[in-house]
């Protein structure tokens, strides 16, 4: 059994500038925020961020100058917190390229990567300007009369996933929604797993169905309690509404954003805020707090 445990700093140090990074989770849920904070602290540049629906992670990487482009179907803080302010500003100012996508074309690109094929056909997209602006080609059906949009492979150099439990070898258990994490783990050249808790993998033997990512796909394992914060992590903690509201408010201009990041991200030094509750993985879907 290979012990792949390492520190967050070391795991993130292995990511070169210009890397294409797939981030697990969805909007306010189970994003790999601790790893994103470390990317900011290590002043990564030129990253391409791949996500189906991002929020804090994508926005922060845009606002701090780490991201050069974003390939995502959606970037926003959902209803409670609104638009992604730094993403907007960075794209509108030309600092970040927004690679227009539907969530399903991100998925299709990842699927092409997973399956080792040069393109993946995608149903739908009729009437949308998306294929044209992204340069997605249409191929004629060799077995029939129609044609279909095909999406090229989207191969992340690294996928970063935050999960509830992992063992030292990299088996990663996801409680509740898996989102596109499994697809990202398969599509990426390497995978970093951050976990609320690193556990003895023997406990997975009774319920291997709950292990979403097998160890052989994983390069590094980092124990990161509250590592999704300020996103929520199902069964562990809710998203931090107060922090997110403050983040969005602080993002109204560059100066207040910089101050916020200096205090809350650069000052964090890997130490997440103390948990309001305990860190145990509870039943998903139960009322919280």
């Amino acid at each position: 059994m290979q012990d792949k445990r390492t520190t967050l700093a070391e795991a993130i140090a292995a990511i070169p500038d210009g890397a294409r990074l797939a981030l697990g989770g969805n909007t306010l849920h189970r994003g790999p925020s601790a790893a994103v904070h470390e990317l900011v602290r290590q002043v990564k540049r030129g990253l391409e961020v791949v996500k189906t629906a991002g929020a804090y992670d994508v926005d922060l990487l845009c606002g701090t100058g780490c991201a050069a482009s974003v390939a995502a179907g959606f970037v926003g803080f959902e209803t409670a917190f609104g638009m992604a302010p730094s993403y907007r500003r960075a794209v509108e100012g030309g600092a970040v390229e927004a690679k227009e996508h539907a969530c399903y074309t991100v998925i299709a690109g990842l699927r092409a990567a997973v399956q080792g094929v040069p393109f993946m056909p995608v149903a739908g997209l009729g009437g949308s300007d998306l294929p044209a602006v992204r340069g997605f080609r249409r191929l004629a059906d060799p077995y029939g009369a129609g044609e279909v949009v095909v999406v090229p492979p989207l191969v992340p150099d690294m996928a970063i996933l935050h999960v509830q439990e992992a063992d030292a070898e990299g088996n990663a258990r996801i409680v509740g929604s898996r989102f596109e994490d499994v697809l990202m783990a398969q599509a990426a050249r390497r995978v970093i797993v951050t976990a609320e808790r690193v556990v003895d993998g023997a406990c997975f033997e009774a319920a291997p169905e709950t292990v979403a990512v097998p160890a052989f796909l994983v390069a590094a394992v980092v124990e990161a309690p509250r590592g999704a914060w300020p996103c929520g992590c199902a069964g562990c903690y809710d998203y931090d509404a107060e922090y997110l509201a403050a983040y969005v408010a602080a993002s109204r201009d560059d100066e207040s954003f910089r101050r916020f990041v200096a205090e809350h991200v650069l000052g964090l030094a890997g130490t997440p805020r103390p948990a309001p509750g305990n860190g145990a993985v509870a039943a998903v879907g139960a009322p919280r707090r």
Partner: protein
């Protein structure tokens, strides 16, 4: 799907809140009820991120006239029975009581092969054909406003059997003659707003019913494309007592209002 405003998050600022109307004709309640009525038992019904009204509508329909409605979300819990309604519509609260989990990929595939009955989608701009823009205001390469993106819409709109659009703001910046960008187009069946319900007939949105207290003139001036509001255009029936009681039970915290400013 999102109803986030293009600038500043002042969602629903233009939404009318008629005074002196019967209980339940506030815009959030009217919209939730109007959307719920469009759903049928046995249908597979999906909404995405940032979709409190569709969440409430699907649960309301399931409680009332559509007990076998199959409620599908990005959280992936099939047929969840949430104990409390979240504002985030990807929340693990939407896993409670689920007996199977699916992924967003599974749900897109379901639609792609023609097996998704209803998708709820929204647009920052919506045109007279029911097409929508969630991508950019201005030039796509260097936009004036970068919007959140189309999420599932470009893939779902042409493949879901029926698409129901909703938007909590009804003004001529939302309902426009011409989109800055066509994020998605397809099988739009109805559009529900704080003012009315549009149906799509022969490829154009037409006013199917006007909500109580909304004048033809107000509706016309709030809509950027030409519409016909005849004297015979029906009024959207106000919520029934049963609908209101069910809403109170499902959504006591009035999460349905969270999309309004």
């Amino acid at each position: 799907m999102t109803t986030e405003a293009p600038a500043g998050g002042q969602n629903g600022a233009a939404s009318p809140r008629p005074d002196g109307e019967p209980r339940g004709t506030d815009p959030a309640t009217m919209m939730a009820v109007a959307m719920a009525r469009l759903l049928r038992s046995g249908e597979t019904v999906f909404h995405g991120v940032a979709s409190p009204l569709p969440m409430v509508a699907a649960l309301l329909a399931r409680r009332l006239h559509a007990p076998d409605l199959i409620y599908l979300t990005i959280a992936g819990g099939v047929g969840a029975r949430p104990e409390r309604l979240p504002v985030s519509t990807v929340d693990p609260a939407l896993l409670h009581g689920a007996r199977a989990l699916v992924t967003l990929t599974d749900l897109f595939d379901l639609s792609a092969r023609g097996r998704l009955d209803v998708a709820f989608l929204s647009g920052v701009q919506i045109d007279g054909e029911g097409r929508l823009n969630l991508s950019v205001i201005g030039d796509p390469v260097r936009p004036k406003v970068r919007l959140p993106g189309g999420a599932g819409s470009a893939a779902l709109m042409p493949t879901a059997r029926r698409v129901i659009l909703w938007r909590t703001k009804h003004d001529s910046r939302v309902f426009v003659e011409r989109l800055d960008f066509v994020t998605a187009a397809g099988n739009v069946d109805r559009v529900v707003t704080p003012l009315c319900v549009f149906a799509r007939r022969s490829g154009r949105l037409v006013v199917e019913s006007v909500h109580p207290g909304v004048t033809a003139e107000a509706l016309r001036s709030a809509t950027g494309f030409p519409i016909a509001v005849e004297s015979g255009t029906p009024t959207t029936p106000a919520p029934t007592a049963a609908e209101l009681a069910a809403l109170d039970a499902i959504d006591p915290g009035r999460i349905r209002e969270s999309e309004f400013g």
